[in-house]
Symmetry: C2
Subunit: 144 residues, 2 copies
DNA sequence: AGTTAGTTTAGAGTTATTCTAATTTATATC
DNA sequence: GATATAAATTAGAATAACTCTAAACTAACT
């Protein structure tokens, strides 16, 4: 059975397992959200964009639930938050270490291809503190 | 005349010049804010912390004016915005390129000493876009 | 001193997000 | 399969960080 057939026959199995492993009940809402997030290429989303998508897919999910799910998914390591804008939160389905371009005009967040950037000689955390992440954001603007 | 005497005799002269050069009238409010910001070591502030400070210095300045000033100062290159938190804006009096530690527990922002970090092989901006800044944020947490 | 453009401000408005408490649902147990 | 219960969802209110508006004030020029 090919991967495609698997998707057609049991479209939710992968996502159900993923949620159960994270200790989250596979509810109708979480399944729809997880399918949009994890069934395909990695993506960068905000609560509003994900809410719009799930509504467009004809699944009624409240915005509160979208926020709840984003935080739960992040807490269980299925998502990672990327801070690039002081007025809204972005989430990334790629939780491995990588860095970002952020277009300040359009709000587009995109990955910097691996190898095209590297941070060298990381400093140790200040005394009494422990390292929790390193983020490089390359800010760009559309046009000149 | 020593630098200290200059400060005692004409405490605002430096800051007045700075504002005039930026095309901003040296009002009572902007002078008080600029003195707190630029008269001493470089610092990282938010609108709320700066407002609290200026009030503590017994200068009545509205929060709206603090926001206005922060943006005007940023636009004229006296300040730089540092994005580390998706719910509030931080400003830095050090406008030269340098990177930051951000304590996610306390909200403390501090500089990574120059030389302790370096970003190599910067990627070119995607086509149609122009580079506007590179920020490295090393996130830390208090304790374990 | 008079004029005016720039500045400040109170308070209302906005936006992203969180909270609350009532309803609904997934799952374990009978 | 029905029942119990903890977990999840939700509408709507609340919050927090700003931003806007339009009236009052002031710096700076004449
Ligand atoms: Mn994936
Ligand atoms: Mn300084
Ligand atoms: Zn990414
Ligand atoms: Zn700094």
């Amino acid at each position: 059975m090919s991967i495609q057939e698997q998707h057609v026959d049991r479209p939710y199995t992968g996502v159900i397992e993923r949620l159960k492993n994270a200790g989250l009940r596979p509810t109708r809402q979480r399944l729809a959200l997880a399918k949009l997030l994890f069934d395909g290429d990695d993506r960068h989303i905000t609560a509003e964009t994900l809410h719009a998508e799930v509504m467009a897919a004809n699944v009624r999910v409240s915005l509160a639930t979208v926020y709840n799910a984003l935080h739960q998914f992040t807490r269980s390591g299925l998502l990672r938050e990327v801070v690039v804008d002081s007025s809204r939160a972005y989430f990334d389905t790629n939780t491995t270490g990588h860095h970002h371009f952020f277009d300040e005009d359009t709000g587009d967040l995109s990955d910097i291809p691996d190898g095209e950037i590297s941070v060298s000689s990381l400093p140790g955390a200040p005394i009494g503190k422990v390292l929790s992440g390193v983020e490089v954001v390359v800010r760009v603007r559309s046009q000149q």
